[in-house]
């Protein structure tokens, strides 16, 4: 196994008085794609939010060897963790291009930003066509692409993707997952992917975690998980 | 803060005074004793009218001076002043608190026509003096129906009549334009002027403004367009200054009659610009502390010394501090006259028996006179003209004919 990019141990998280995560452990490999599977309400989104400091959590999180738990979201993001939230987090009143610029807001190397914007347009030509348009007027698929593009503008080491396929047509989903695979290779971005569509996720990912009601049930290489009988029955539906 | 400090001072003084044997024939009502006289007051210390709070604070400072000088006939004044935020319901609450809970001998200088109207009936039903109220409405001098209420300052209507007399004599062919605040104060002035003119001089334009208006520029332009050559300016200081300035800007130079409320040199005419204010006519009854005319006046020096010692944070350019000082002196005079008979009835009786009382900050020659049928303490005023730096008194001291 390659070097460890992020290591989380014993993560517990709460919404008000209600505990949602019960001591989750997670290890993400440098350069890999990991997926987190689980039913609705299992705590997947919460885990992502805990990783980027958006929800109160206990335990330990090390990103590239340094502890980040308890830091502000902005600071974790600035270390290179790009979180593509559920609902896409589009800045609806701003234009497409402004959305991309917002993604690069924490970077110091301003000169490189226009080039990066062009690179994002290279992956998502549709965005280029609509660069001057209010982002709120984009279709769902386009907004999802914009969200990924915005995350890319950060030049992240790790991308946290929260249900990127949600509400999109199958064709668009397939297209997008293909782009994610390309990004992983050409941009050297590690990914943690939360998905309802387990089959799709397992195809893309090389490692998988399965959680249920805030607890880890099983983890291992995607191929192994896909082969597991019980998983197949409850998550893959065949 | 102020009243609490006073309270403690008077309490301490009281302990000393208990030892002296009570003299015979002392009569007291609630709120008065051998050692102290409790006086209530209601002022707007908060809210949009909090500018007036200065009066209440000046009075408090003056009573402290009185106490430091030994009190009135050996009794210290316990001054309890409450905030009504210029809201009539709050005024009722505070008046009842003063009368029923603090048990004051009288309420003094409660401020504002609406607030005083709200407590008018209550005070008379309770037979507690509502003395020297701080408003110039005419209704406070009605001893037949309201024997427990008395005003103090010249009322707005009679001032309006003074201007009318002036116009009838000097500008019988004039055309009058009026700017007035759209409330009881503004309307009283207008009524006084109209009654005084008796239709003999034409009023060509009237423009009201709301205290909430940011400026009166629009009104001034309309009034100028009416072709009037006499301007009656019934505004509070801020709007008076705005009007004077705007008139200067647009080059309108009518005969300008400015109500007494806003004729302070320091806080109206100077901000508006002396050049613009030159030639304005007004009436006066108290000395303007910012007018160089009184620079060497003994009364003014006394007032300035009081301000420095007892109310250093108070604004010396505001006429409110002079007003508060003088009205407080009037009450002290009444209480002195009461002697050892500190009943509410006697307070009203003495308040109605002021004879040629002339506090030092009233204009020379103006005197306070009251009787059982005359509940208007100050009825005299004198006209004055602004020379560009100071007021110049002219003509005789005029007694305003009180209307209705």
């Amino acid at each position: 196994m390659s070097a460890c990019l992020l290591e989380a141990t014993g993560i517990c998280a709460y919404y008000g008085p209600t505990q949602v995560l019960f001591g989750l452990d997670l290890r993400l490999a440098e350069g890999g794609i990991t997926t987190m599977l689980g039913a609705n309400g299992a705590g997947k989104t919460t885990m992502l939010r805990a990783l980027s400091g958006m929800v109160r959590a206990t335990g330990e999180i090390r990103f590239r060897g340094e502890p980040v738990l308890g830091q502000a979201t902005e600071d974790i993001v600035r270390r290179g963790v790009a979180h593509v939230p559920e609902g896409r987090g589009t800045f609806t009143r701003q234009t497409v291009e402004e959305n991309l610029q917002i993604g690069a807001m924490s970077r110091r190397d301003r000169k490189a930003i226009p080039g990066d914007i062009e690179r994002v347009y290279g992956y998502f030509p549709r965005l280029k066509e609509r660069r001057g348009q209010q982002a709120g007027t984009l279709s769902g698929g386009e907004q999802q692409m914009l969200a990924i593009g915005r995350a890319l503008m950060l030049r992240p080491r790790l991308m946290l993707l929260d249900e990127p396929s949600f509400g999109l047509a199958p064709m668009i989903v397939a297209e997008m997952f293909e782009i994610l695979r390309t990004l992983n290779r050409s941009e050297k971005v590690s990914m943690l992917l939360v998905e309802q569509n387990a089959a799709l996720a397992l195809d893309l990912a090389d490692h998988a975690y399965l959680i249920e009601t805030g607890r880890l049930v099983m983890s291992g290489p995607s191929a192994e998980i896909r082969g597991d009988e019980s998983i197949r029955r409850s998550y893959l539906g065949y | 803060m102020l009243s609490r400090r006073l309270l403690m001072a008077t309490a301490a003084a009281g302990l000393v005074a208990v030892a002296t044997p009570a003299a015979a024939q002392k009569k007291y009502d609630t709120g008065a004793s051998d050692t102290e006289i409790k006086i209530g007051n209601i002022n707007p210390y908060s809210g949009p009218a909090s500018a007036y709070g200065l009066i209440g604070r000046t009075i408090g400072a003056y009573f402290k001076k009185v106490n430091d000088d030994g009190g009135i006939n050996g009794r210290k004044i316990n001054y309890i002043s409450y905030d009504d935020g210029y809201s009539p319901p709050k005024a009722v609450e505070q008046a009842r608190k003063l009368v029923e809970s603090d048990e004051v001998l009288l309420i003094f200088q409660s401020l504002g026509t609406p607030s005083n109207t709200a407590i008018h009936k209550y005070m008379n039903a309770k037979k507690v003096p509502q003395l020297f109220v701080a408003t110039g409405a005419t209704k406070w001098g009605d001893p037949k129906s309201f024997p427990w209420t008395m005003g103090w300052q010249p009322n707005y209507q009679s001032e309006g009549r003074i201007y009318a007399q002036y116009l009838l004599k000097n500008h019988p062919q004039g055309k009058v334009a009026i700017l007035y605040q759209n409330d009881d104060y503004g309307k009283d002035y207008v009524k006084g002027l109209k009654d005084g003119l008796g239709g003999k001089i034409k009023i060509v334009a009237e423009a009201p403004y709301e205290p909430a208006d940011p400026t009166v520029d629009s009104q001034i332009i309309s009034l100028k367009a009416s072709g009037a050559d006499v301007f009656f300016n019934v505004t509070t200081p801020k709007f008076a200054a705005q009007a004077i300035k705007k008139m200067h800007e647009i080059g309108w130079k009518p005969v300008h009659l400015l109500n007494n409320v806003s004729n302070s040199v320091g806080s109206v005419l100077k901000p508006a610009g002396f050049e613009a204010a030159k030639g304005i006519l007004s009436t006066g009854y108290i000395k303007d502390a910012t007018d160089p005319t009184w620079k060497d006046d003994a009364g003014l020096k006394e007032w300035a010394a009081f301000m420095d010692k007892y109310f250093p944070e108070g604004d010396k350019t505001s006429s409110f501090t002079v007003y508060g000082y003088t009205v407080a002196q009037t009450l002290v005079q009444v209480l002195k006259q009461c002697g050892d008979d500190l009943t509410r009835a006697n307070v009203m009786k003495q308040a109605a028996s002021l004879k040629d009382f002339a506090p030092p900050m009233l204009l020379p020659g103006i005197k306070i006179n009251t009787s059982s049928t005359d509940f208007y303490p100050i009825e005299q005023m004198q006209m004055q003209r602004f020379t560009g730096e100071r007021w110049e008194l002219f003509g005789p001291i005029i007694s305003g004919e009180v209307g209705s």
Binding site: - | S81, Y82, D83, P89, R96, K97, S115, T117, A118, N182
Partner: protein
């Protein structure tokens, strides 16, 4: 943003405290409060009775505002206008109609209901901050309208109307302060009971649904426009009745009594009492009446600043109002039934 604006109504928490069910505690608390309320007029000075009467009246007005804001999610910074309308209705009926004050209460309520309903119709198109501004404009304009020349024959212009303070009827051995206190208390009890029933009814659930999920509510077949306007009307009705009671208790109405300062006072009372809490409005009423007195006691020259600081501290201490704080405290001691 819109649904963030209002606290959620907690259904009464089921649980026990010291082995007794919370419901019983609640009944005991209400009974205790009522006993104290009934004892006040016989134990306190007239002046204090009068103050408590005013506090009850303000609480009724705040309750009206709470029905609108707390349970229906509509802002209002202009309820002083309805309070004024109620007060003037009462005063004009007594002065010009020669009617007894007891007739004026339902009349003021009806007038304000109609006015509120009518105002609620255009207000439908306005949301959040825009509605707040439109209502605030109403509060600012009201005193000017009241003193305007065309209405002067009825309103008495800036001089207002002086009303005769009523004595206790049927030869009851009460002075007029005690009588007005009991009258206000009785009216308040009726109105509070109605409010509790309203909030728990089908209508109330529709109101709350509109507050939380307006789109879903209309999808469920709730006539959102009608309910919102009706709520505005009911809210104005409560505030108008309070205004009429206030006019009788103060025995005087004038435009200066009903400036936007009153509107802001009611609004502040609503928030410090607890948005969406019916008992919290009582705290709101007490706050509106007593905190300015406390503030001026701290400093005369800085009375306004003292008021502001007290207000800030209260918000820090109980961000969701007195009701929220109570829930929190009870929550600490309660053992949940689950």
């Amino acid at each position: 943003m819109h649904d963030r604006a209002v606290a959620h109504v907690k259904s009464p928490p089921a649980g026990t405290l010291a082995g007794v069910s919370l419901d019983i505690w609640r009944r005991l608390a209400i009974a205790g409060a009522l006993a104290v309320a009934l004892a006040v007029p016989f134990a306190a000075k007239n002046f204090f009775i009068f103050q408590m009467t005013l506090a009850i009246i303000y609480a009724i007005a705040i309750l009206g505002l709470n029905l609108l804001t707390g349970f229906n999610g509509q802002f209002s910074l202009g309820h002083s206008a309805f309070y004024a309308l109620g007060a003037y209705t009462a005063a004009i009926m007594m002065e010009h109609g020669g009617l007894g004050y007891y007739w004026t209460l339902p009349a003021a309520g009806m007038v304000c209901f109609v006015a509120g309903f009518l105002f609620g119709l255009p207000a439908l198109r306005l949301e959040g901050i825009y509605l707040a501004l439109a209502t605030f404009a109403l509060a600012v304009a009201m005193p000017q309208i009241l003193k305007s020349t065309p209405l002067e024959p009825w309103t008495g212009g800036v001089q207002g109307i002086v009303i005769i303070k009523p004595d206790a009827p049927f030869g009851l051995p009460l002075n007029s302060d005690q009588w007005l206190y009991f009258l206000s208390l009785a009216v308040a009890l009726v109105l509070y009971a109605c409010a509790v029933n309203l909030v728990g009814s089908r209508t109330g659930r529709a109101m709350i649904a509109i507050r939380d999920h307006p789109i879903a509510a209309s999808a469920m077949g709730i006539n959102v426009s009608l309910y919102k306007s009706l709520t505005f009307g009911v809210s104005a009705l409560y505030t108008g009745v309070a205004g009429a009671l206030g006019a009788v208790a103060i025995s005087f109405v004038a435009p200066d009594s009903f400036t936007f300062v009153l509107a802001i006072g009611l609004f502040v009372g609503l928030v410090v009492g607890g948005v969406g809490s019916i008992p919290g409005t009582l705290f709101g009423g007490l706050f509106v009446l007593f905190v300015p007195n406390i503030a001026e006691h701290i400093s005369k020259g800085l009375a306004g600043a003292a008021y502001g600081v007290i207000l800030m501290l209260i918000i820090y201490a109980m961000p969701s109002g007195a009701a929220g704080l109570c829930r929190l405290i009870i929550g600490k001691f309660v053992r949940h039934g689950r």
